[in-house]
């Protein structure tokens, strides 16, 4: 496959940045998208130029590190996969592919396609945890009976890998699918009840302070989420927040 790539290049956080065209030939349809970028970078380095910086780690769709807005969609045109699991067979010979960083005020570009997603970490620090006394007499979590449906739904929410595709794809750059998933995974379990009120109030407060937009329920986040996190989690967060506001 021969492709034209239009890639966002930005030297550093303060650089203005621009789209730059690259030609790449002999791309195998069996390559992953990131392998294709590796090949491109080999060519760029051979020419003595600066390679394209992009985030990646496990390349197995688990870590949530890879990002990229490909042809107008977070993680590209495939469904239920991260960019590292996107394969070149999804494209055709002669295609032009736009490759941009995830865009949001709360996700500033560090370099080229690498963005700072530490806003998500700060939201997690604000309440995305349970406090357990690890004195040596910790009760086994399995000793607490949990309804199968609640356990399954909590686990579904917990599959969020925090990649930020929801923010990138939302027309409002809203982080509510991420925060909704993190609130839900605890709200559904007995272990999460003790800190439920503070958790949702603090996480939403931090989310707002980071500069994410307001959800308008377009549902784009659910479609683009590589883990299929459901909009139900946003509704659950909304009701948890309203309940917590009345209490607190």
């Amino acid at each position: 496959m021969n492709l034209t790539l239009k890639i966002w290049r930005q030297k550093n956080a303060s650089d203005k940045g621009k789209m730059v065209d690259y030609q790449i030939s002999d791309v195998s349809p069996d390559m992953s998208f990131l392998e294709m970028l590796d090949v491109l970078n080999d060519q760029i380095i051979t020419k003595g130029e600066e390679p394209v910086a992009f985030d990646h780690d496990c390349r197995e769709g688990i870590c949530g590190m890879c990002s990229l807005y490909i042809n107008g969609e977070a993680h590209g045109p495939d469904r239920g996969v991260t960019t590292c699991q996107l394969h070149m067979r999804k494209f055709k010979d002669g295609d032009t592919i736009y490759i941009e960083p995830f865009r949001a005020k709360a996700f500033p570009v560090i370099k080229d396609l690498v963005v700072d997603r530490s806003a998500f970490d700060r939201i997690q620090h604000a309440g995305g945890f349970i406090s357990v006394n690890t004195s040596g007499n910790t009760q086994d979590a399995n000793a607490i009976p949990i309804a199968k449906e609640a356990a399954d739904t909590a686990m579904d929410a917990a599959t969020c890998i925090g990649c930020g595709a929801c923010v990138a794809t939302c027309k409002n750059s809203s982080a509510m699918l991420f925060v909704g998933a993190k609130v839900s995974q605890y709200a559904l379990l007995p272990q999460g009840q003790v800190e439920a009120t503070d958790r949702v109030l603090n996480m939403v407060k931090q989310m707002d302070e980071e500069g994410f937009g307001n959800c308008t329920n377009t549902g784009a986040c659910e479609v683009e989420c590589p883990k299929g996190i459901s909009l139900e989690n946003i509704a659950r967060m909304n009701s948890e927040y309203l309940k917590a506001s009345l209490k607190g």
Partner: protein, 224 residues
């Protein structure tokens, strides 16, 4: 409770509550207007009741006006805030791959409805307020009979006005196609009833505006 309406979720909740109230009002408005097709007398009676009953005039009407203004103002505020949350746009964005046109363009369908409401207020509400509260005529009568039905029919003589109404109600349908179920999601209601609710939302979102279009066309084409 303090600060709830300064939060993103609180603002969503407030938008949803005002939307639910306006959708209930729209249903009531339609229920009275459709009477004009089947029974001018019943339409006159209902209009006179709504136009003169103290609870409607002095309690529900101010709440309605507040609800309308609140919904528009909050909609604009949220749109501006949301635009600020992404300062650099994508060179290529494929919004239609993951969301409906209606959901992405609520501000534009909302602005079309706002423009229609200006016309609607000039057509009906301002003359009504003038007759009742400036001229002090609370009788609802003109030349010995109720004036409401005649005023309605007279307004729908103009093909330009009827055309504007039809276009506005198409935009209202587009707005409601997303807004109805979105309001329930915002108040935290997403459960086993959501699928049924979405079905009802489609019926409401298409049926009510279509009904208003029918009323306007009926009076325009029949002349009575």
């Amino acid at each position: 409770m303090s600060g709830i309406f300064n939060s993103s979720i609180g603002r969503k909740f407030a938008m949803a509550l005002s939307a639910l109230f306006l959708m209930f009002f729209l249903l009531q408005h339609f229920a009275i207007n459709i009477l004009s097709v089947f029974s001018p007398d019943a339409f006159n009676e209902a209009s006179h009741f709504m136009g003169t009953f103290w609870a409607v005039q002095y309690i529900l009407q101010p709440i309605l006006i507040f609800g309308v203004i609140f919904h528009f103002v909050m909609g604009f505020i949220l749109e501006l805030k949301n635009n600020k949350a992404r300062q650099i746009s994508y060179a290529k964005n494929n919004g239609s791959a993951n969301s409906s046109w209606m959901s992405r363009n609520m501000i534009w369908s909302g602005l079309a409805i706002l423009a229609f409401m200006v016309l609607h207020f000039i057509d009906f509400w301002i003359p009504e307020m003038n007759t009742k509260y400036v001229l002090g005529d609370m009788s609802g009568m003109h030349n010995g009979e109720f004036r409401y039905f005649h005023e309605l029919v007279e307004k729908f003589h103009s093909p330009i006005r009827v055309g504007a109404y039809v276009i506005a109600f198409v935009f209202l349908a587009l707005h409601l196609l997303h807004g109805f179920s979105s309001a329930f999601q915002s108040i935290g209601a997403n459960n086993k009833y959501t699928k049924s609710l979405q079905g009802f939302a489609k019926i409401y979102a298409i049926g009510i505006p279509l009904g208003f279009i029918f009323i306007a066309l009926y009076h325009h084409l029949t002349g009575h």
